[in-house]
Amino acid sequence: MSSRLDETRGWSLSVWVFKRTLRSFALLVGASFLIYATLRTAPGNMVDLILGINGTEEARSALRAEFGLDQGIIMGYGEWAVRALTGDLGRSITFSPGDNVAEVASSAFLVTLALSVLSLIVSVTLAFALAVALGRPRPKHNLLLTPLSYLNAAPSFVVAIVLTSCINALIYMQLEGGGRMGPSWYPIPTYQAISESLAPFSFAMISISLGDGLFIDLFNALRAELRSVSGAQYMNAVRAKGAPVLPHMVKNLIVPTLSIFTARLPLVLSAVVVVEYIFTLDGSGYLLLEAARVRDVPLVVGVSLFFIAAVICMNLILDLVKAAVDPREVTRVG
């Protein structure tokens, strides 16, 4: 009887996963088409940018044909989508001429994603630790939490700029006094790759964690979750049975924590776009802004695709984890 139940549950889970994946893919297609169409119809184009006022009409149409801009939007997108399915996202035209978009965009996106996810993990861990340490809310906690929430309210790019200016000025003062050699990452921005120095990446991570109210938001959410879980009736049952409390609490905290994480990811991704610009990390924020300035259609579409895919994937993963932890999710959502 029980094996039949497992079989039925396994089957419905597979169908559910398939449906979810299909829905995510449709979302990806729709979003990429919207971005492609918006870019193609946006005023200003790369051919005029390249040839300027000197170009002849013949040269203009030859370039349009070379870049595939002579086709209509639907045809152009169709062709792009077919190539994209094989992993070929085309080549950059004006921003980094000739570079393979898939390679450039994926390596840049990796930086952005790593920065976002690591900042979130650091913030979640610290927020969780603080929530556990503080325990039940008490009035004296406000002495710590109120200034923290004010500080944390500043946008992360402001935090980044203030941090940069302070560090630069301090080191400069020290150098002026002693005349010693400064660190390799001085002055910020340093233009060093992550492989050369971890400093810019670390500073960016600090700025993201300290800005946009991220830390305080996570702290409040986690503290509320922690309280509701520890006060739940089943926890009393666990305690009464003398079973270890922590594993039960952690299992019940996974879904809410992951939900907060997923909900926050798109916001953090957009904050990262600006912050990595300040710390000169070669991430997709820099790529996206600069490629859009020179109307590099393949590159902008390519980078955006990674952004959308990341958010869709995170939601998919969240749903799968939810389904794994709490099987009711499958029947509820699916």
Binding site: I50, L63, G98, N168, M181, G182, W185, P187, Y191, A199
Partner: protein, 511 residues
């Protein structure tokens, strides 16, 4: 004990990650825009012009005194009729990859530039050549379409290696655009998104004083200034190309940075679209010119410079000093509009159904454009002209203003490589006449100037044109700026070429 060791190891790791000293002997400089390409044909912005000076060389160039000097060419001789010129090339010159440079490379460069399959904006630079022929390995002969007294002056274009290309039709997506091979003192070692690193060319025929160069893409000008401010002992940057006037005071008495003035052949103008019926009326254009307080606009927003009365900079041989720049005269401007029949109506003048209300399109990349445009708006409001500002990004500006010509007013800069060539700007249907300007008398003079080969007579024609254009106002000629670069005091033997900037970089030294 174990805990202590772990702590020490962690400290060491942090120190190595964060405190390793900066590498010295590298000349670093920021650029506001990424070079459009490192391939000479596809140079479409000033950062690409500057970086190509490190990598490529031309047959001849102008030396520090302004005389033509051989670079890849040892000597040359022009035919008496001025229709052909033969260059003898220097022997033992090698490309960055060690292959020998020869006359075939020169022939290939011209053929590639003239190939219809190689599409780029400045093809006109190569149109004067009728044919090119290699005579042996080290001699190349050109025949020209039009006689010239000093034909060698035209051969300042960069030479590319034949052995790197399959055909003369070159596309901009070729890998060569990223990792080019030239004969210049530096070769590209690394070309990443934000950073281009060049190192000394081991095969270089001459000498270069600096070991390596790093070009960093730094769009924000405040960030560029910060990098220079905090520079020293190998850190930061050694050169910022343009120091905005508001940041000048920071470096005026600096121990580590010197401000180096350099002259560019560039002037600002305020343009009218002559297709607009109201703006085709000379009285209206004159009223505009009289309403603007150019001296105040310049000083308040851009710093030092010269007010101009025509399409040349004051150091140009063509500048006509007899023509005085107009001064602001609000009363006269109002009187002109009254005479032309434009009456005040709710703060804006109008005649019949025509209101003096215009769209003013400005490229966001123009320095300090927003406060400048606001002051212009305030000046014009005083005489009953209303302007609606629209700030657009460069690509939109190129499309809407330069190509579609959908604008009433705009403000911009013309930059010239050497002397100002005003023919394409003001000739009816000239390539750069995007303002739809047409004046028969001006056309006659411009055509005459094209045929004139005597320098003195040409100069006179330009002076006459200066006067005519100041009267007819196709543009309001605004000013040319005093430009300053910031350089670390560690850099010595500096000589800045006004347009290409780093032409004499191989002589620069880094202490």
């Amino acid at each position: 004990m174990n805990r202590n060791t772990a702590l020490k190891a962690l400290c060491c790791l942090v120190l190595t990650l964060f405190m390793s000293p900066a590498t010295a002997k590298v000349f670093r400089y920021p650029e506001s825009s990424k070079p459009s390409s490192l391939m000479p044909f596809f140079i479409e912005n000033m950062s690409a012009v500057r970086v190509s000076e490190f990598i490529f060389e031309s047959l001849v160039t102008k030396n520090k005194r302004g005389d033509i000097e051989g670079v890849l060419a040892q000597n040359w001789s022009a035919s008496p009729d001025g229709l052909s010129v033969t260059f003898q090339l220097k022997p033992n010159i090698k490309w960055h990859d060690g292959k020998p440079f020869s006359a075939q490379d020169v022939v290939f460069t011209v053929n590639a530039a003239q190939d219809r399959g190689t599409i780029f904006g400045l093809k006109g630079k190569y149109r004067f050549i009728r044919s090119v022929q290699a005579v042996g390995n080290l001699q190349v002969r050109f025949t020209l379409k039009k006689a010239s007294k000093k034909p060698e002056e035209l051969f300042t274009f960069k030479i590319i290696p034949k052995h790197h290309f399959q055909s003369t039709a070159i596309t901009r997506l070729d890998r060569f655009s990223k990792y080019p091979v030239g004969t210049g003192p530096f070769k590209v070692e690394k070309n990443e998104l934000r950073l281009i690193r060049l190192v000394k060319n081991p095969h270089y025929w001459g000498r270069a004083g600096i070991e390596a160069i790093e070009l960093m893409h730094t769009p924000d000008s405040n960030e560029q200034i910060n990098l220079l401010k905090y520079s020293g002992q190998g850190a930061g940057v050694q050169n910022v190309i343009f120091i905005p006037p508001k940041s000048m005071s920071m470096f005026e008495n600096s121990d580590s940075v010197v401000l180096e003035p350099y002259h560019t052949v560039a002037w600002w103008y305020f343009a009218f679209n002559h297709k607009n019926p109201a703006l085709s009326d000379i009285s209206v254009r004159k009223a505009f010119a009289l309403a603007l307080n150019r001296e105040e606009l310049l000083e308040a927003h851009l710093g030092q410079g010269d007010l101009l009365s025509g399409p040349f900079t004051e150091s140009s041989p063509y500048y006509n000093f007899d023509v005085e720049p107009r001064e602001q005269d609000i009363e006269e401007a109002r009187a002109l509009l009254d005479q032309a029949g434009y009456k005040m109506n709710g703060g804006v003048r109008s005649k019949g159904g025509t209101r003096l209300e215009f769209d003013f399109l400005v490229n966001k990349d123009l320095p300090n454009c927003q406060p400048l445009a606001l002051s212009i708006q305030a000046d014009l409001k005083k005489i009953g002209i209303k302007i609606n500002q629209k700030f657009v990004d460069n690509s939109l500006y190129q499309e809407q203003v330069m190509k579609q010509r959908k604008f009433d007013l705009t403000m911009n800069i013309w930059s010239f490589e050497e002397l100002e060539d005003i023919y394409p700007l003001f000739r009816t249907s000239g390539v750069r006449n995007y303002i739809n300007y047409s004046n028969q008398e001006v056309d006659v003079k411009l055509d005459a100037s094209r045929k004139e080969s005597d320098h003195k007579a040409y100069k006179e024609l330009m002076k006459e044109l200066h006067m005519m254009l100041n009267d007819d106002l196709p543009y309001i000629f605004l000013w040319s700026l005093d430009i300053y670069s910031g350089l670390s005091r560690r850099v010595t033997n500096i000589f800045i070429q006004p347009y290409n900037y780093y032409t004499f970089f191989k002589d620069w030294m880094l202490k």
